[in-house]
Amino acid sequence: MKITKIVPRLIWSALIVSILGACGGGENNVTIGNRESVLHWGNGDEPQELDPHIITGVPEHHLMIALLEGLVLKDPTTLEPIPGVAESWTISEDGTVYTFKIRDNAKWSNGDPLTAEDFRWSWERSLLPALGNQYSYMAFPIKNAQAFSTGELTDFSQVGVKVLDKLTLEVTLNNPTPYFLQLLDHYSMFPVHRATIEKHGEPGERGTRWTRVGSFVGNGPFILKQWDLNKVLIVEKSPTYWDRDTVKLNGIHFHPTQNITTEERMFRAGQLHYTNVVPPEKILNYRENNPESLHVSPYLGTYFYRINTRVKHLSDARVRKALALSIDRKSLVKNVTKAGEIPAYTFTPPNTLGYTANLSESFNPEKARALLAEAGYPGGQGFPATEILYNTHEGHRKLAVAIQQMWKKELNVEITLLNQDWKVYLDTETSGNYEISRAGWIGDYVDPNTFLDLWLKDGGNNRTGWSNEEYERLVFQEAPQAKTQEARYEAFRKAEQILLDEMPIILVYTYVSKHLVHPSVKGLPGNLMDYPSYKNMYLSDESQSGLQ
């Protein structure tokens, strides 16, 4: 055989052998993880930062609850407040003064004891205007907190946070706020280690090196071990955490998983115990063949479209109602989103801590057409060009296209679509340069207030140009001052009725959280805020690795 024939063949054989040799070997993460009690968690986007007073996203939130702990925690199933760093608390008669008793065995990861002063200092830092904490509003129920955060007030001792003694913290609120305890579980209210921060820079300085591996000091069930950018972030069980006997996991690997298709493949290949989302097209398959891995539960959020009421033809409530009535939400959640989302007829998700608003009308194309004609556009004639704005995302696109078609079919109106990147889309929406814009709102805590306080006139999150005096009175005056839960909810109900009558927004569906979870993962019951309690989770390694 000629040399020129042998050599290429040798090369090919070598390639094939090396490929085969590289295949199939090695155990996957789930097998090893189950054995060593290490959880592999698909965490969505790469986390921005580890400073709880700067971050803003859900991936970061997961890291924060692993590395830090606030005064109060939430029960993994009911989301009721349970003791965290504070072992007990008392609330005054009028509901405005909370006194927290910090447990004496709470420690930082470097052994320092946790004190009430830690919390006072941390909250002061969190509210510093220079720091630019986008969630500073979590603290606003506290007396004078808002004034301090805008720089109006520079003396923090005037803010309603007092250290009574080493382990006792007294907090004074503006109004009785039933959901205040829930706010304390938000990362912007977490404590940070003063000495570490001051070692690396000013308290109000963003992005100093105090959060690096090796410097980070936290008080949570886990400590920061390793962070390879865009690859993996590893935390290990903390030896100093006060409740370390409850913690069964030895460590968690947080994997950044932006590509949802790849994430699902990783799950199938046994590389992840838990995925951040489930690609919609795979849901049916899992429901039929592997239902134990599919975890779907109601989520405290509403998917809706904002309508810019400043635009002439959209300022007529009849037009808005016509648009809302000609969407078949049942069809959308069944055929487009497919994960078991719930068609939304109220803005606040039903049964939010026992509150359910009165339902708005469902799919009614005849009435829609009648309303449109009444408003001056019979049969869709003369209806000005209207555009749906959405941020670039597969799911939003599909919905927008489907809704566009529904409006065309039922009302005979021409709608165009425009998608923009997240940042541009936010800018466009905020500056009011849109007609209809896709939106979603996730509750910050479980209480109707977090949904209804959006619609403050010209409020930063309103963006529709809609406002209503009676609505504002009900939400911002009557409800906070209500004497009973019932009265409070009644005020909310009336307010929401106004909102739904005027329809500055078009409701689409109530979110569900959907994840793929390996059967070996226990202690993850699923709750309304999709909040994982890592210290209660454990891996039982009876199941086989990987799913075929």
Partner: protein
């Protein structure tokens, strides 16, 4: 001695005829040409022959495999794939041809001028090309599309602006070498105007490499558009291009493989055809063809 006109006419005719004969021997190239013509014709008459509208949805149906009603199946919103592939072809081919046309126009003019004038003007012009060559264009295109929103015009301009450089280089190289040849010197000495010389002598002789390069640029432009669409920066829904259809198909390739296969196949075939044709043309027009 033959007159200048007869001389160069003779040269021109025999070169083309020769090339055509050579091309005919290359069966792959002919196949490519045939496929390409077929696709162009279909793309042109698409609006009149499609069975469905490209945005008509059937949410109840969802993604269905190929059937008598839908020859290539439907996508996740129940839209007919055959229609979408045909419309996608229209868009992809259009982007391919137009953007290449833009590149061609700029590149040929620029290169011809540089090569013909020569000297310092040429050096300066080519220096600019070198500088632009060094820029990471993909980065700029991404940036442009992200920052300025996505519209077709910007897409054409952006792509065209990337591809003209090599065209300019090729044309300039050709023109430079041609200019030094005897028959051009002869033409100049006779007193023909530069424009006549360019028109009659230079351009016909540069046409060869230009045609070849154009035929080979079109597929890379189409790839570029597909690539941008994959990142979400190219063609926007509800329009579709092959690239966009492929990126959707990739997401669901395990459940609904037909959503990936058909657009993928059509794009690949189109690219194959163009490349084989381009190769064939190059072999045919290049006098130093492979013989032994």
């Amino acid at each position: 001695m033959t007159s200048a006109k007869e001389f160069d006419d003779e040269q021109g005719v025999s070169l083309w005829q020769d090339a055509w004969v050579r091309l005919q021997h290359n069966r792959l190239a002919l196949l490519g040409m045939g496929v390409l013509i077929f696709m162009i014709v279909i793309a042109l008459i698409t609006p009149w022959i499609v069975p469905y509208s490209y945005e008509e949805q059937d949410l109840m149906l969802g993604a269905a495999p190929p059937s008598m009603a839908h020859w290539l199946g439907t996508d996740v919103l129940g839209r007919d794939m055959l229609t979408r592939v045909m419309y996608g072809g229209r868009v992809s081919l259009m982007v391919g041809f137009i953007a290449t046309g833009v590149a061609l126009l700029i590149g040929v003019v620029y290169g011809a001028v540089a090569g013909y004038v020569g000297g310092r003007v040429d050096a300066a012009m080519m220096r600019l090309v070198d500088i632009l060559y060094a820029l990471p264009f993909m980065i700029f295109i991404i940036l442009l599309m992200v920052l300025f929103g996505r519209n077709m015009l910007l897409l054409f301009l952006a792509i065209g602006a990337v591809e003209w450089l090599t065209m300019a280089r090729i044309v300039r190289g050709q023109v430079l070498s041609l200019r030094q040849q005897e028959f051009v010197e002869a033409a100049i000495s006779i007193g023909l105007s530069p424009w006549t010389i360019i028109r009659r002598h230079i351009i016909p002789n540069t046409l060869g490499p230009v045609i070849v390069y154009t035929t080979l640029t079109i597929p890379s432009v189409m790839l570029l558009e597909a690539f941008l669409s994959f990142l979400g920066l190219g063609i926007q829904p509800p329009q579709s291009s092959w690239g966009l259809l492929i990126s959707y198909g990739v997401e669901t390739m395990e459940e609904y493989p037909w959503l990936l296969i058909y657009p993928g196949l059509t794009l690949s075939i189109a690219l194959f055809a163009l490349n084989f044709l381009g190769d064939g043309l190059r072999d045919a027009l290049d006098p130093k063809a492979s013989k032994d």
